[in-house]
């Protein structure tokens, strides 16, 4: 077993990156995730493991550093919060098009615009439905604890390199800022140049004379080739959808009504399940862990088992509810409940919403 520590979510993410053998972090300060780069700078991983930590001049620069360093076959990550992630969308679209592996964390705050520095889940659409230009997806992981902030670094990098894709750790101000105990993984070694060259033949590392030079680009002006490239990306997304959907179910065995919630909302909904059960209500929780690909099949299976209605609980005006309704496809009732602007719902009001909107008095 690894080392047990009391840490903030943002710090756990940073420490997990060092321990995974991450090669570089390129970031830019923004509340509520500045602890990531502060912790990394304080830990001085350049001395510990040789990991590069660079405070870039902007989120734009940071994501483009990630793009090219990731194109070099290195394990590279960045993090930011909502307005900063907007700036990173340019780079993320290039990363998707050029199939560069990387991990980025979005510690979401309220919007639109500068919004608020308080927690929010109003960037679900941005994370799961594109954000940048073109037909693409990033894998989106939603941690609901400080432990998962740490664990999803390794999971994220493994998936990023397996599929040559960006993996988003979609957190929020609450998960990023709160302190919990966390079991940290053992320190792994960074990959050597020889290992990278052997494992990732596509990686920019200097071409051997007599071999084809490598190009990492998202551009092709030949329409037929670009269509085929898009088809290839879609096949990859299908493969990911087949293999990588993750979710957790709580008290769903006999449930008639189910909360669907991720991240900090899932923590609150879990408490609402306890309160509801104490009142004799057959309520449960479905917690998507991957937001893209979405656990549509889990909702489908719950309807097959007799669930009559779902309440999508989000710190937004209703974003994930669209995926819940698509999954229900008219077979079960699905409604949304959420507080916004940095206000976090209480378990009591979440349960009350379930009674009012789904169960009916």
């Amino acid at each position: 077993m690894g080392e047990l520590k009391l840490m903030k979510g943002n710090e756990a993410l940073a420490e997990a990156a060092i321990r995974y053998g991450c090669d570089a972090y390129f970031g830019y300060p923004i509340t509520p995730q500045s602890e990531v780069i502060e912790y990394l700078s304080e830990q001085n991983p350049y001395e510990r493991t040789g990991m590069v930590v660079l405070q870039a001049e902007s989120e734009l620069a940071a994501i483009n550093m990630v793009y090219a360093a990731g194109a070099s076959g290195k394990r590279v990550m960045t993090s930011s919060s909502s307005p900063g992630i907007c700036l990173k969308q340019e780079g993320l679209a290039y990363i998707a098009g050029a199939e560069v592996p990387c991990v980025y964390a979005d510690v979401v705050r309220g919007g639109p615009g500068l919004g608020t520095i308080q927690p929010s889940q109003a960037d679900y659409f941005q994370a799961c439905k594109g954000g940048g230009n073109g037909d693409y997806h990033n894998i989106v992981l939603a941690p609901a604890s400080v432990q998962e902030m740490a664990d999803f670094v390794a999971l994220g990098f493994d998936m990023a390199f397996k599929y040559r894709i960006a993996v988003c750790i979609l957190s929020d101000g609450a998960i990023g800022q709160m302190m919990e105990k966390v079991v940290l993984p053992e320190q792994k070694a960074r990959m050597t140049e020889e290992e990278i060259k052997a494992k990732y033949p596509w990686a920019l590392s200097g071409r051997k004379r007599g071999t084809q030079h490598r190009v990492i680009t998202s551009l092709d002006l030949d329409s037929a080739k670009m269509e085929e490239h898009n088809r290839h990306l879609q096949r990859k997304y299908d493969e990911i959808t087949k293999n990588e959907i993750r979710w957790e179910e709580i008290e769903t065995k006999d449930a008639e009504y189910v909360f669907v919630a991720y991240g900090s909302s899932a923590r609150i909904a879990q408490k609402a399940v306890q309160l509801g059960r104490a009142e004799g209500l057959k309520v449960g929780l479905l917690r998507p862990i991957t937001l893209w690909p979405y656990p549509t099949k889990a909702i489908d299976a719950l309807i097959d088992k007799g669930v009559k209605g779902f309440l999508s609980v989000e710190l937004s005006c209703g974003q994930m509810i669209e995926d819940v309704r698509l999954a229900c496809n008219g077979r079960a009732k699905a409604e949304h409940f959420g507080r916004v602007g940095g206000i976090i719902h209480t378990p009591e009001e979440v349960l009350a919403a379930m009674k009012k909107q789904i169960i009916g008095e």
Partner: protein, 266 residues
Amino acid sequence: MNINDIVKPENLVYQKSKLLTSKPFHYCPGCGHGTVHRIIAEVLEELGIDERTIGVSPVGCAVMAYDYFDVDFAEAAHGRAPACATGIKRVWPDKIVFTYQGDGDLAAIGTCETIHTCNRGENLTMIFVNNGIYGMTGGQMAPTTLIGMKTATTPYGRKPQWEDGTPNNGFPLQITNIISTLPGTRYVTRQAVNTPARVRNAKKAIKKAFENQMNNKNGVNFVEIVSNCNSNWKMSAVDANKWLDENMLPVYPLGDIKDNFELIKK
């Protein structure tokens, strides 16, 4: 006599660099990009660093530079080549990394990345081709467009201010002079490729810009090439090279601006 009687190693005085691919350039005939590509390829070949060189191409006319150089390449988003090069060099400090950018890319949309990459003193070689116009998009105003110069977006000539003093198109940006004042730049020079003598000088400068990177741990090595755009200047190649002499060089004078971190006093 057939061609093989003439083409013998002992008769060969010049040949295409081995580091240029056989893909035909898409550049307009008469454009300076082809010459700049050639001398970069020759320098990489002469220095024997092709197995550890990684280039970064821009958005603009040189976006597909990666098709022409037989070395590993990343294609950057518009203006972000210095950030991309920083990313590569930081994770591969032993590789030789260079950017290739035009004026819109380096001095308009990418000004922030240009200045901060130079200010951090990244150990890079940056090639900046300045022809005072946006070529790829069809001849719009660039930050380096000369006052009075007609482009698709300054059809009556670049006018920094209206007659009543209201700001209009602004002034030609002396980006190379700006970055030369930053402590992170090691070598800053302005060259041209519109005469054979200048091609030789430009090649020497580019070679030095790569050698510096090979021999040091920090410091940007920045080579501006004042070039032409005969298509969008709407001139013949010969006239464009003459126009460059008469109009570009008074604003962008040739020569070394900074060497070994010291500004050169003139």
